[in-house]
Subunit: 247 residues, 2 copies
């Protein structure tokens, strides 16, 4: 079972995910995700590096083919920029793996946690784009940013920065500024649900890529997304359900 742990806190992990981990003989995952779990002494853990998704998927499939009850854990939702895609990329490498009983347990993903804290920025049509050019050419990222801007979608940017490529998010803002208005609301939502959670609101005109790190989810509004001012509190960020004044 490919299991989504959600963004961090136990209150955001589904009962299905908790039960899947309890039922597992073997738990496979990136170290920090395994560290979140209270496992029993009889459960084997298989830690791997963050970048080794495909190796992790192969190990999980191999263990399952040996008859082990395997949980592959992902932060967030395994179906959104996480382990499910890696498992199904590997599954054809051994014909026996195709006969395995594979299931995916969905979870709350980073953009949903960020949206919940911000108000309702994803209240209308939206896109999710990973800025990692580890697995796709940067030209493809640019094509998608341009299409998302031309469709006036709200845009959730995953993996906005990494140690190897800190400037990518700045290039994305530059591209979006050429198409979208400078007053478009932008939010940096960092480590939502974890003790070091922080939220920063700004506009596309002012947005500074340096505010994003590997734990940040960036939300760029549509032309209808707005900030709702409050007394002595952070404004809400919301996108109306109706477009162009609706009905």
């Amino acid at each position: 079972m490919v299991v989504g742990l959600g963004p961090g806190p136990a209150e955001w992990m589904t009962p299905e995910a908790g039960a899947a981990i309890k039922a597992a003989s073997d738990v496979v995952g990136y170290g920090p995700y395994l560290d979140r779990l209270a496992l029993r002494a009889d459960q084997r853990t298989h830690r791997s590096d963050n970048r080794a998704e495909l190796d992790r998927a192969r190990l999980a499939l191999k263990l399952a083919a040996e008859g082990r009850a395997v949980a592959v854990v992902s932060g967030g939702d395994p179906g959104v920029f996480a382990m499910a895609a890696a498992v199904f990329e590997a599954v054809e490498e051994d014909p026996r793996w195709l006969d395995l009983d594979i299931a995916v347990a969905p979870g709350v993903t980073a953009m949903q946690a960020a949206a919940a804290r911000l108000g309702a920025p994803l209240g209308h049509d939206f896109c999710a784009i990973s800025l990692s050019d580890n697995l796709k050419p940067w030209a493809m990222v640019e094509r998608r940013l341009r299409a998302a801007a031309e469709g006036d979608f709200v845009i959730a940017l995953y993996n906005p920065a990494s140690r190897a490529r800190p400037a990518r998010i700045g290039e994305a803002f530059d591209l979006l500024r050429r198409i979208k208005g400078r007053s478009t609301p932008v939010a940096f939502a960092r480590a939502v649900g974890r003790p070091d959670e922080s939220l920063t609101l700004t506009t596309l005109g002012e947005a500074d890529g340096k505010l994003a790190d590997m734990a940040t989810l960036v939300v760029v509004g549509s032309s209808e997304t707005r900030f709702i001012a409050r007394n002595g509190a952070r404004p809400w960020m919301a996108t109306p359900r109706a477009y162009g004044g609706g009905r």
Copy 2:
């Protein structure tokens, strides 16, 4: 608190959502969502029609301003085509409402439940588009479908059909067929997680809008999304993490 109940089964509802409902003096929502809950005799329920989101949001804010502990319930994630946007649309109508302590409890939304059953169709960049033209002009839906196709996103279509507008999904397929390949994988995921769940796989060339009803989520692949054949079982539908062969 605006609470996401998830797609249906209790195993997909977060502990936070369960606790929020328990803590509420008043639960506001569309009737069928209220029927899912095991409420106590001391909890007041406020049922409303499916279409009356803004009235429901106003009622919830009014009750909260009277000092009641209110849970507004949504299916799926309240932040995704659901109640959170309605609450923040209404919140400025009364200055006292801006001082309320409003929080959103995220939940698993329909496209995540559908993706979990199908394999990993959302494994790469994707868009979510509501086909309801109740609150936006159809020309805007067409503009977004075109942009999503031009960006080669995986597309999750919410509200693909309704009694009043059964033909919209067929028009959407026609538009997408003019841009995307006819062999593009398409899935109709109906009532996922509920007893009458059904999944239908087809291609964009063959996709028949009549297969979609109000309980259906439609997933249209990118150029890289594919079906993975299995012996005696439904194929998996998956989008690789890498684009264009990646590395």
